[in-house]
Each structure stands twice: as structure tokens, then as C-alpha cells.
Subunit: 153 residues, 2 copies
Amino acid sequence: MSRSPLVSTPVPEVDSVDEVLALVRARGGRATTARRLLVQALFDHGGHLSAEELAAEVQATSPDIHVSTVYRNLEELERLGVVTHAHLGHGPATFHLATRRHGHLVCEECGTTIEAPLSLFESLSKQASAKLGFAVDPVHSAVMGRCRRCRTR
Amino acid sequence: MSRSPLVSTPVPEVDSVDEVLALVRARGGRATTARRLLVQALFDHGGHLSAEELAAEVQATSPDIHVSTVYRNLEELERLGVVTHAHLGHGPATFHLATRRHGHLVCEECGTTIEAPLSLFESLSKQASAKLGFAVDPVHSAVMGRCRRCRTR
DNA sequence: TTCGATGCAAATAGTTTGCATTCTA
DNA sequence: TAGAATGCAAACTATTTGCATCGAA
């Protein structure tokens, strides 16, 4: 039995801000205010926050933390495997904790993002792997379409 | 039997540059040099060309056709249903003729785009529709992952 | 000869980078 | 106090828009 592409990326077990910061320190990094607030924001809001929105969140407490700092920290947290981003069609990338693994369905009409359980991607993953040798990563993906409300409207 | 979301968008039957331009004229539009060259480029290269690349293509013949003109024309052709675009992760959007309907698999590592037959998306479409009321549009979607070469490398 | 289309420049959104300064460990 | 991280400004990429001019019908 081969390893499923659905579980190909091992995600560190982190359930709290402090655990993430411990991970950061273990790598030689430092626990700064910006870092702590960013991680807190990621824990507070489940997902689908853009860098800009996360910056706003963080700035509510610490007004002069810059967006570029948020970007740099998100990059770092992604390297640590704590954070994941997804590109959702037109708009900016969105970020969430890597533990909250799900796919993304994005409505072309109203822009709403729906979290999709990974099970929806199973058949696609199997076929893509078998026929094309391609290992699907549903977490980074955005599947466009039309949401229920916009369909019936 | 309900209408499948996979065939929800009717695509005009256009097999040549002139047919597209006729469509444009029928709508009160004009057959300009820029338009003709752009449509030609779309017919020549199957797909996955960004606006920038299409501009370069067109500029090989007519050097001072501007990118903004290409964007405006792509928008217009999309309104006519002749052209489709897809967002492929990080990079720019890519455009192709709407008759060439396919999904997109994008390698996160090397950036290669693979055309995927719509059949791969059938199970995902059915489940998304049944469970979430969401009509998947595989043509506009990019599914991220890892291609065969990068996996085995 | 009209009005749709173009060229150009400038605006915009999202993201990245260089550099001097600050602050954690 | 060394070096990691930050703030700020500026660069960069992809795309859109305003406006005067041009050209297809």
C-alpha cells in the first residue's frame, strides 16, 4: 500500500501559541511580539485570512507592526510546517494553521470560500496519481465554481 | 436527470480566427489588427498562455500593441464565451480557447501545468453539489500538487 | 464621420526586498 | 552584545483605468 498524497506532509502537533513559539525557538528563532500576536490571530480565527487581514488583526493590539513583517513571519511559520496558504482565484492568498487541513471551494460570483473536507478530493487524487503521476495537494488548491446561494439566485 | 455542472456553460462553435471576428462584429465590435493577432495567437498555442506571453506573441508581428490592449481584448473575448481563463496558484492567470475545456494540475515545485480531462473532476463535482450545494467549475480551477518528475526526483 | 478600440501613463493590489535600527536570547 | 527580527521605503508583478487619439465600418 502506497503512501496517500492526502497525508504526505507531516504537520507538527501544535495546539497553542506557546507550543508554536517553542518550535520557533528550537530552530534558533526568537519569540517576538509580532510573532506571538500573529500566531494568536491564526489560532483565534480559524482560517481564510489574508496577510492584510492578519496584519489588521495584529495591529489592533500593536499598531505599528508592518505587513511586511506579517509576510515574513508567515513564510517562516510555513517553513516550520505550522501554517499553510492557499491561492483563491483572483484575491490574495489566505493562511491558516496547518492542522486545520481542508480544501477550498471558491464562488466565482460572490467570492465566498467554503471549506471542503479532504474526502471530496479522494477520487480526483487517485485518478490524477494513477493516470498522470500527479500527487494532488487539496490543501493548497482552490476549486472555483458557484455556491448554493448564487446558484439559486 | 439534472444538468451536470460540467457542461453548464455553452460555448460558441468557433473553429477559426474569422469565425471569432465575425462573432465580434455581430456584437457591434470591430475587427482590429490587435484583435486578429490575439485570436490567431490563441489558436496557434493551445493554452496556458498568460496575458504577458500573448502580448509578446502578438508583438512579434505588431510591436506596439500594448499589454493593456491584450487584457481588454481577452476580457471582451471572455464575455463572448470564446476565451476562458484560469488562476494557477502564484503566477499570472492563463488564457485559452473555451472550446478546449480541461482542468489544470499545477506542480508546486516546478510550476508546470498539466491539462486534466474533466472526467477526473466528476466525483468531486457530484459530492460538492450533493453535500454543499456547490457547482464545481473545473475549467477555472487550479489543483495544486506535485508532478511525476518532481515526485521521483 | 462616428464611436469603438488603441496607446500610453498612471493607479492599484498583492507581495517581496534592501537596509539601517531595534530587541531577544 | 551578536545576530535575529523589525519598520519603512522602495521595487516588483499582475492587472485596471482615464484620457486623448486613431481607425474600422
